[in-house]
């Protein structure tokens, strides 16, 4: 503890002069990040090394702490939707869904069936988008740059669909409390179908490139192993937990939206290493394709917004054309939806794990307290366990395999 604070002190100063008596007799402390290509953002690791073997790790977060929870207390429920995009910025659509689900649970709003189908579709799109980046950056960190470019090629196609679908390429803010910003256009559906037709083949390409590649397998197999018991004790969720053999997936366990109507598998592996986590992500993308296909088949016609004028924003045409809608809009924008007093917790299975929102309301327009349960934050906590005993070159493979997003971890 004392050595560490000394090192921290030394790192703060411009000239770093740490001298050990005999470098071969002593442990070395390596500072990795916050600016490092393999830490996926601004994660910082202080690693204690004996030669090349890692003895201990202290992760430092907070370099991207933006004060989300404080800001939520100072704005209405509607105003907060754009902020949820930037939590897990690899899958903005599903963050929007998670937040509005929590608010709807609090206010007791029932959403029309068509909107629920579209929400399932966008959640799964977001999962594919996130896993593509996870896949690409894991491979890039290990040395296979091609996979990153291939992943981004597919992601660009999805972002085009998102562009047509929501009007924005990246940060979507697509959901509204009680529904969606707009209905899905036929053009977007056609684009999505085209994408789904060619996507499994591209996944097979990547599998062909990596999963028989001796270098890739050797870099990942048996690296960063965590046992089932440790994973549960540390509260890990998402692919990292499922890679240890626990079939815990909130889409099955606490069905939200209409996930209980779809037929899909929850892939699990028993190895608990980086390779198993990579496999899980590949499998999950295939499952997501299956879910989107089913949803596109079964999607009913109808409205996408609940008919609750005091809680749900109406369309702009109605607001500009009708007095009553204008009054409701004014009240909603200025004073918020004023849900009843109480506290709720609602979680969804995001691409990284369980993304939950705890909202405590005192009946005002703004939440009294909003707490984000972010999967990356909890998963980064496992790094000391995962890294212990491995070589320094395995650090990048392990960080890539738990796929943290610092926007979400630091809030």
């Amino acid at each position: 503890m004392e050595t560490k604070s000394k090192i921290l002190q030394a790192l703060e100063n411009q000239d770093v002069s740490i001298s050990f008596d005999d470098p071969l007799e002593n442990d070395m402390i390596l500072n990795m990040g916050p600016q490092h290509p393999a830490t996926h953002g601004v994660l910082r690791l202080l690693i204690r090394l004996d030669g090349e073997t890692i003895l201990g790790t202290v992760p430092e977060v907070g370099y991207l702490h933006r004060g989300y929870e404080k800001m939520a207390e100072n704005m209405t429920y509607h105003e907060y939707i754009p902020h949820t995009d930037r939590l897990d910025y690899l899958s903005p659509l599903s963050n929007n869904v998670a937040y509005v689900l929590a608010v709807e649970k609090l206010a007791g709003i029932e959403v029309p069936r068509r909107a629920q189908f579209i929400r399932v579709i966008i959640c799964e799109m977001a999962r594919i988008m996130s896993h593509l980046v996870a896949m690409g950056s894991t491979a890039m960190d290990i040395g296979a740059l091609t996979v990153l470019l291939w992943g981004f090629r597919e992601r660009e196609k999805l972002q085009d669909i998102q562009d047509v679908f929501t009007g924005v390429r990246f940060t979507t803010s697509f959901t509204r409390i009680g529904g969606l910003a707009q209905d899905m256009s036929d053009e977007a559906i056609a684009m999505l179908k085209n994408f789904l037709d060619q996507f499994p083949e591209k996944i097979r390409d990547v599998e062909g490139l990596l999963l028989k590649n001796r270098i890739f397998i050797q870099r990942c197999e048996g690296v960063g192993v965590i046992s089932k018991h440790d994973a549960i004790a540390l509260g890990l969720t998402g692919p990292i937990l499922r890679a240890t053999g626990v079939p815990h997936d909130l889409r099955r366990d606490e069905p939200y939206l209409i996930y209980d109507e779809f037929d899909f598998d929850i892939p699990t592996y028993n190895d608990g290493d980086a390779l198993a986590r990579f496999y899980i992500r590949m499998e999950e993308m295939k499952e997501s394709v299956k879910i989107i296909r089913q949803a596109l088949e079964k999607i009913p016609k109808g409205p996408v917004n609940a008919a609750l004028p005091k809680k749900v924003l109406s369309s702009k045409e109605r607001i500009y054309g009708k007095m009553e809608e204008l009054i409701h809009d004014f009240m909603l924008i200025n004073f918020g939806i004023n849900p009843p007093v109480g506290e709720v917790y609602q979680a969804i299975e995001n691409s990284k794990g369980e993304l939950g929102f705890y909202i405590s309301s005192l009946g005002e327009g703004a939440p009294w307290r909003l707490k984000i349960h972010s999967p990356s934050f909890i998963n980064i906590q496992a790094l000391p366990v995962l890294l212990k005993g491995h070589l320094i070159s395995d650090v990048v493979a392990i960080i890539g395999s738990i796929d943290p997003v610092m926007g979400e971890a630091d809030k």
Binding site: V61, G62, H65, G67, E69, K70, M71, N74, K105, L106, G108, I232, A233, L234, G235, L236, T237, V246, H248, D253, E254, G342, E343, V344, Y345, E354, G356, Y358, S360, W368, R369, K371, H373, F377, I378, Q381, D410, K411
Partner: protein, 163 residues
């Protein structure tokens, strides 16, 4: 699944009857408030009981209510994979005494969430192995999520590098 909820409430009332302050269910979220003194015992019981078996504590949440009878609440988000059941366990704190027993030895995963609550509210977890600030710089003096702290912060409290 209904059985688990009843079983949980019954078992808690049976074993810790006087320490259970309230049991509230709102929109499907079950919240049980207990007294701080018995928190650790109840957590050990919930983790160890074979029927209930709450093997995951997913999060620790601090809330600043600023009420005359109590100031802070600490909420534990407990989940049982075996029973597939979740509820919120809650304690209340006076401003004069901000000590809570740490449950890191029961669920190692609450290490960082407890540090987060300390960072935001200044609530001290007794027995925590490494209670440091997690998000804000280590020399920061205030607790940002307390209600009296202004949204834009206190100017000059964190220095910027010279231009």
């Amino acid at each position: 699944m209904k059985n688990i909820k009843q079983k949980l409430i019954e078992k808690l009332k049976e074993n810790y009857g006087t320490s259970i302050e309230s049991v509230v269910e709102f929109q499907g979220t079950l919240t049980i408030t207990v007294s701080r003194e018995k928190l650790k015992d109840i957590c050990i019981f919930l983790r160890g009981d074979f029927d209930l078996y709450f093997d995951m504590c997913k999060d620790v949440i601090g809330v600043d209510y600023q009420r005359p009878d109590f100031r802070f609440e600490v909420v534990y988000n407990l989940y049982s994979i075996k029973n597939n059941f979740r509820f919120l366990l809650k304690i209340k704190l006076q401003e004069s005494d901000l000590h809570v027993p740490s449950v890191v030895d029961i669920w190692p995963g609450v290490n960082w969430p407890e540090r987060e609550v300390y960072d935001f509210f200044g609530i001290i977890f007794d027995g925590h192995p490494d209670l440091r600030r997690i998000y804000m710089p280590e020399d920061f003096e205030y607790f940002p999520l307390r209600k009296e702290f202004p949204l834009m912060g206190i100017p000059g409290s964190i220095p910027l590098p010279r231009k």
